[in-house]
């Protein structure tokens, strides 16, 4: 019995349990927000605000107050804080270093490509793969096929340079 309680806060849950819980929570987001869960739209707004405040971009008229009142901010922050809470609850919180310089470059390039790709396709894995397909939209399926091809190319790069 104690083991079963422990697995709830300590993990790991089976993957299918995670899938069911995520599906339910995703639907709650849809009901409360009146539109599906998305991540990168908000990240774009924040980075444009940051860029224009640093004087790198011309002002797009995004104010700090507007950002703090947008629901995407709380969705993104909640995922970060919730994951941190999860690690704390399991007593697994620590700062995790990476192995060497190669990974810094890989992470930076990967993030850059991901941000660019997500914004020109107007959605990320959550916005287009999960919610696009769940909304029965054709662009979700197209994006999924493209991501699959991209992952295949990315795996080649990974095997070539990182291993």
């Amino acid at each position: 019995m104690r083991n079963k309680v422990q697995i709830i806060y300590k993990g790991p849950w089976a993957y299918w349990v995670g899938a069911v819980v995520l599906a339910i929570l995703n639907m709650i987001v849809l009901i409360v927000r009146e539109m599906p869960w998305g991540i990168t739209t908000n990240i774009e707004a924040w980075s444009v605000w940051l860029g224009s405040n640093m004087g790198l971009l011309h002002d797009e008229g995004i104010t700090f107050k507007q950002l703090m009142l947008s629901d995407g901010t709380y969705l993104n922050m909640g995922v970060i804080l919730g994951a941190f809470w999860g690690t704390l609850a399991a007593s697994q919180a620590r700062f995790r270093h990476m192995k060497n310089r190669k990974f810094v470059i890989s992470a930076l390039i990967g993030g850059l490509l991901m941000g660019y790709g997500a914004r020109i396709a107007s959605g990320c894995n959550i916005g287009l793969v999960l919610n696009g397909i769940a909304s029965s939209s054709l662009s979700g399926w197209l994006f999924t096929i493209a991501v699959f091809i991209g992952v295949w190319l990315g795996s080649k790069i990974l095997l070539r340079f990182l291993l």
């Binding site: 790991p12 998305g38 941000g115 020109i120 197209l142 992952v151």
Partner: protein, 210 residues
């Protein structure tokens, strides 16, 4: 290696829980909707961390290491979400509530974006939600990837008009508009079932050989 001890972090946890509680109380003064969303997304982050659900792994591992458990979980997630979204959307339509699904216009840039996104998420070790979840877990690598994500988002925002102007784009196609709700849901579930069969076949093939 034995000097590393397994200590409980309940004090930190208590402090952090108090901080979250204060944030929720503060947010309640502003808007109930935002508070609810914040609470749900906390649960989302917790679930992502506890079940180690990783979209990147679902796409990548069948090809790279022949490991399909997460792909099957992703197909299950989609198979629950499609009828779920259909029900929510229809109920909202009957009750005349405002509710919009995510139907975006598409074009060449959707496809190119997807390919770049796929390459990026393998290199950064996580997709957008995976990066957020791993920042919470304390990975240095994903914090750097997040900086890259922000720069990339700016670049993407300013180059989207160029893509639209040069390659054009088709208006979003919402499958239920063309073939009706029930056939659309059934069709997509059939596609998912087919994909699930393909993953099972792929797994058997790899395990049979290796």
């Amino acid at each position: 290696m034995e000097k590393k001890a397994l200590t409980s972090q309940w004090k930190l946890n208590l402090g952090f829980s108090f901080f979250i509680l204060m944030l929720i109380v503060l947010l309640l003064q502003v808007s109930i909707q935002l508070t609810l969303l914040f609470a749900v997304s906390l649960a989302l982050g917790f679930t992502l961390q506890k079940s180690r659900f990783c979209f990147t792994s679902a796409f990548r591992d069948p090809l790279l290491v022949g490991y399909t458990t997460l792909t099957e979980a992703l197909i299950l997630l989609l198979a629950i979400s499609i009828p779920g979204f259909a029900i929510v959307s229809n109920v909202a339509g009957i009750l005349h509530l405002p509710l919009s699904l995510y139907v975006t216009p598409f074009g060449i840039h959707t496809f190119v974006g997807g390919i770049l996104f796929g390459i990026g998420m393998v290199m950064a070790g996580g997709c957008a939600s995976g990066i957020l979840m791993r920042i919470g877990e304390g990975f240095a690598m994903q914090m750097i990837a997040f900086a890259g994500l922000m720069i990339g988002a700016i670049l993407g925002k300013y180059s989207l008009p160029y893509w639209r102007a040069n390659f054009g784009e088709a208006p979003g196609i919402f499958l239920p508009d063309i073939i009706g709700w029930l056939p659309a849901v059934v069709l997509q579930l059939l596609i998912l079932f087919f994909l699930w069969k393909v993953t099972r076949w792929w797994k058997r093939k790899l395990n049979g050989v290796g």
